[in-house]
Symmetry: C2
Subunit: 82 residues, 2 copies
């Protein structure tokens, strides 16, 4: 259902972008590990099978950068084409 | 900013409810552990400090039930009052 996929996408990107915009400038090691885990679980549980698959593949090719808010933001600007 | 908090809440609940509605009826042990981790990280990274705090407290008092889609749905109906 295309309309549902798009609505889900808009909701999810909103939460996703807002979350990364609040990520610390100088995260601790623990925070870096947690963000990486969080994004991987977000991808795995994303409730659109096709999207979940694409996003997990994207993360494998282009792992999220968790060193700082800025590197996370640069990573995020990568266009997944999805 | 109240309007932003509410907009964030609506986006996040949408993703949250949709995710739990797609959770398996008979999840593996691994899936149960992952869902628990995912919800805990969702709470910790939730980009509204007050909400994140409340939701983490809620999870401590009333841990998410991950045995099946049905128990997760019952857990979800609990009113956090937030
Ligand atoms: C994790 C994830 C995976 C997805 N995978 C797929 C998929 O495999 N197939 C599919 O058809 N749809 C997928 N979507 C949905 C898609 O990205 C759009 O959100 C949806 O189609 C709504 O688009 P729109 O034009 O209405 O919104 P838009 O106004 O285009 O986008 C709304 C917001 O979504 C974000 N966004 C949209 N597209 C991208 C992109 N390519 N890269 C980064 N950010 C973007 C932007 O932050 C934008 O602000 C996925 C969404 C998410 C969150
Ligand atoms: C994890 C999380 C924690 C939050 N913590 C706070 C907080 O501490 N303080 C605060 O002011 N706002 C908090 N919010 C925001 C709040 O829950 C509402 O989403 C927001 O105020 C928008 O409400 P609304 O009346 O416009 O939307 P509504 O139409 O009332 O709700 C939209 C959807 O949000 C869900 N929802 C709303 N309230 C609850 C609730 N109490 N329990 C379960 N689901 C609910 C429902 O699924 C509903 O379908 C939080 C949101 C989330 C996702």
């Amino acid at each position: 259902d295309l309309a549902k996929k798009q609505e889900l996408g808009r909701h999810a990107w909103y939460l996703f972008h807002t979350t990364l915009s609040r990520y610390p400038d100088e995260p601790s090691e623990a925070q870096q590990t947690k963000l990486k885990n969080y994004i991987e679980l977000f991808a795995e549980f994303y409730p659109c099978g096709e999207c979940s698959y694409h996003f997990q593949q994207l993360l494998e090719k282009n792992p999220i950068q968790v060193k700082s808010r800025q590197t996370a933001a640069m990573w995020e600007d990568y266009d997944c084409g999805c």
